[in-house]
């Protein structure tokens, strides 16, 4: 269960791995996958063969080694690389975003976290979402409104909705998330939610078609968010919001990541002839002496931005349902 839903259930990381759990198998920061723990099953990857039976009863976060004598059929490859290991992590919405199957473009951490904050979600809220897509955001919405709130998510695509529903089941979120097949651009949200939603999230190619319905669903002062990759969509969405919404704000959020490495720079001394300028030289020697000690410390840790990054995901436009005076 990704999100504990009652007082008797501990946060996953405080538990031990049990049959039926989903664990995130961490090979490397860019190589993870979600695995359902089944007795007798094995996981085979480039690091070896791993028996699920070895995992059960161990804490999340532990390191497990590939079976020395690879049991079952799929032993090939396992032995050669022998002694490989992986870590077994407790699933979180953040890890889920990294391992889920991409049935559509998904939202990532930075956008997700801003959406949850700006929608002002807290436990107990009702939030509507369209479309469901790959369920990346949905899972975070669920965590935010759990244990007593609700996420009603809609996708016009049959199969996509079904796959998302399976994922939510697998992650123990069915009591929080309802998935329905519906063309929100064409039909709007179902009437049953009229005036009941604390927040509405739209990720639609033509959000302006759904905005009037979103306005109908929201409680007064409730927040709407529309996510669009192109500025033309934002322009039309903002236009559509102006009649019923206020406090319309459009943001873009990116994450810049940094890489850390150990080791200093080439000093001038290594390159310099010994008959160089005396004064500067002297200073350099002083520094060099100090650096020897310095290396033992920490100032040799160098950090700089990673050179490539996601340059754009989309624009997030937030707006509040206007409150009517009397």
């Amino acid at each position: 269960m990704m999100v504990p839903l009652d007082p008797s259930s501990k946060p996953t990381s405080q538990r031990r791995i049990a049959e039926g759990d989903t664990v995130v198998v961490y090979e490397r920061h860019d190589a993870m996958r979600a695995v359902a723990v089944r007795p007798g099953a094995v996981l085979q990857n480039r690091f070896g063969v791993f028996r699920h039976d070895d995992w059960i009863g161990r804490p999340f976060g532990c390191k497990v080694h590939s079976a020395a004598s690879a049991g079952g059929g799929g032993a090939r490859g396992g032995k050669g690389k022998g002694g490989g290991f992986v870590h077994l992590l407790a699933p979180t919405p953040e890890l889920w975003t990294l391992v889920l199957s991409h049935r559509t473009q998904i939202l990532y951490l930075a956008d997700i976290s801003l959406v949850v904050s700006y929608l002002e979600l807290v436990p107990g809220c009702l939030v509507l979402e369209s479309g469901t897509g790959s369920g990346s955001l949905t899972t975070s919405l669920a965590r935010a409104v759990a244990p007593h709130g609700r996420v009603c998510t809609f996708d016009f695509h049959d199969q996509r909705a079904a796959s998302a529903r399976e994922d939510f089941e697998r992650n123990g979120l069915t009591s929080i998330i309802t998935v329905a097949v519906r063309d929100i651009q064409g039909q709007g949200f179902p009437e049953e939610h009229t005036g009941a939603a604390d927040a509405v999230f739209l990720d639609l190619p033509q959000p302006w078609l759904a905005i009037p319905s979103a306005g109908t669903m929201l409680k007064q002062d409730g927040v709407l968010c529309s996510f669009s990759p192109c500025i033309e969509q934002v322009q039309r969405a903002c236009e559509a919001m102006r009649s019923c919404f206020t406090d319309i704000r459009t943001f873009e959020i990116l994450l810049r990541t940094y890489e850390v490495r150990e080791g200093g720079l080439k000093g001038a001394t290594t390159n310099e002839e010994s008959n160089a300028v005396p004064l500067a030289q002297k200073k350099r020697k002083l520094l060099a002496a100090a650096e020897t000690l310095d290396v033992k410390q920490n100032s040799s840790v160098m950090v700089r931005p990673c050179s490539t990054a996601r340059g754009h995901t989309g624009y997030l436009t937030f707006a509040r349902l206007r409150v009517h005076g009397n």
Binding site: V3, F60, K63, I112, S113, A146, C238, I253
Partner: protein, 475 residues
């Protein structure tokens, strides 16, 4: 009851936005509470029972709800930079906006006011009597109108205090107080630390309580946020009073010194380790040292807390080059007196006075955490060398628990990340920096804001792991 109260109630904390962000201040809706708008002191009583998001104007008898809500505040011209030059052929340069352009004298205006003419009507009169208004560009006309409106027809917007609005308010008006933590950075911390129901979140909050309050809001009365601190004196977390935390939520906030948590962890003996440094629930650590009637007892919320008070105890804020404006220069005159106001007793979940945040955790809780670990960690100690105490904090977490460390400087996080890499205590380590950009979206005038907050801080995130080969202990 709904998760989010949609109307202000007697005794709740509110955020007032006066004249479209010119002034932002928190108030408590006590019977005696007032706000000064322009040179007029208005009672806050008319706000009680009104929906959050309502707009008020100042009438002869005080705050009056506007007939309709904010009329598209977003259509106002946000930028002075490109506006006039773009689509206009009229040119302001030929205009001299001196006093002779206005045919109404200040005496005239005073007379109108005395006659009970509304602010909006005065603005209309000013426009009608301006000899230059018609010659201005549309952009300048809007600007002129807005300026006069702010002066003669000020508007007060009733906002609901929430993590979003509280964080934005401090960042805008008093950023040093909250370690320059921008709302996107705070949002990332909450996500990266997997804060959700029934979490046991360990927090080092040296940003005034902003993080503790945000976590408590996300917990919704489940789980715990354990605010830990270095040394013997807890950091101030009085910003939690700005949140309308219910009593359920408030009781989930506990405070314990790091040394206590660590010794407990090391000794394995709950009660002894604990009692050395924490004297149990009977004697509470002073969470919020402000000049209250009960200084050692933080209230779930408190009365109007403009920053003149909170600024003074900002030991945790780091040096900044530019002196920060106070959260609200216009202190609510009756602020302090409203503490003795009555709380509502109508069964709403807003905490009555006797419920307190920041108690020491019970020995049972401490024992539980020493056995199972905290389920995540957030550190926001912008002025501190985090590396030194992260080494103490991580062992307090359960294996697989995520953590997120906020900082103003990159190098301390880099050093910390490197030492965690070497120690193999954590994986998935990453330093990231959120980069937030706001856009003006207006017909033919769409572009990013001309001024930006260029810096939202750095965050080191990762997951605590067990790296030994035989880890059969649960933590």
């Amino acid at each position: 009851m709904a998760a989010i109260p949609r109307e202000a109630w007697e005794g709740c904390s509110v955020l007032l936005d006066i004249n479209d962000g010119d002034r932002l201040a928190f108030f408590r809706l006590t019977p005696a509470a007032t706000v000064k708008v322009g040179n007029r002191t208005c009672s806050l009583q008319p706000l009680v029972g009104r929906p959050f998001g309502s707009l008020f104007s100042v009438g002869p008898s005080g705050l009056v709800p506007c007939a309709d809500a904010p009329s598209s505040r977003d259509d106002t011209t946000q930028d002075a930079a490109d506006g006039p030059s773009q689509d206009e052929t009229r040119d302001n340069r030929s205009l001299v906006d001196n006093n002779t352009a206005q045919n109404l004298s200040s005496d005239d205006i005073e007379a109108m006011k005395r006659d009970g003419v509304s602010g909006d009507e005065i603005v209309e009169a000013l426009i009608a009597n301006s000899s230059t208004f018609g010659k201005k560009t549309v952009f300048s006309q809007e600007k002129y109108k807005l300026k006069k409106q702010k002066k003669y027809a000020p508007k007060v917007l009733l906002r609901r205090p929430s993590t979003r609005s509280i964080c934005e308010t401090y960042f805008k008006k008093s950023p040093a107080r909250t370690g320059f933590m921008r709302v996107d950075a705070l949002s990332l911390l909450l996500s990266m630390a997997n804060v959700g129901p029934y979490s046991d979140v360990l927090v080092v909050d040296m940003v005034g309580g902003l993080v503790v309050g945000a976590v408590a809001e996300r917990l919704g009365g489940t789980g715990y946020v354990c605010s830990t601190y270095l040394g013997s004196a807890p950091s101030s977390i009085d910003i939690i009073r700005m949140y309308n935390l219910s009593s359920d939520m408030t009781t989930r906030i506990v405070q314990a010194p790091l040394s206590g948590l660590c010794s407990l962890q090391n000794s394995g003996d709950v009660s002894s380790g604990l009692n050395d440094s924490i004297q149990g629930e009977a004697q509470e650590p002073t969470a919020v040292p402000v000049e209250n009637t009960q200084p050692s007892v933080p209230q779930p919320t408190d009365t109007a807390v403009p920053d003149e008070k909170t600024q003074s105890s900002k030991e945790q804020s780091i040096d900044i080059d530019i002196p920060e404006p106070l959260l609200d220069e216009h202190v609510n005159q009756d602020g302090n007196s409203s503490l003795d106001s009555k709380r509502d007793e109508d069964g709403s979940s807003i905490g009555p006075k006797s419920l307190k945040a920041g108690k020491a955790p019970s020995p049972e809780r401490m024992k539980y955490w020493s056995e199972h670990g905290f389920s995540s960690l957030i550190v926001a100690a912008p002025g501190h060398d985090v590396e030194s105490f992260v080494a103490d904090l991580l062992p307090l977490l359960s294996y697989s628990a995520p953590f997120a460390i906020y900082h103003q400087y990159l190098q301390p996080l880099a050093t910390c990340m490197h030492s965690l890499q070497v120690s193999k205590m954590a994986l998935g380590l990453q330093i990231s920096e959120p980069w937030l950009r706001e856009y003006q979206v207006l017909p033919s005038r769409t572009h990013p804001h001309m001024q930006m907050n260029a810096f939202g801080g750095y965050i080191l995130s990762g997951i605590r792991i067990h790296n030994g080969d035989a880890c059969n202990g649960s933590k």
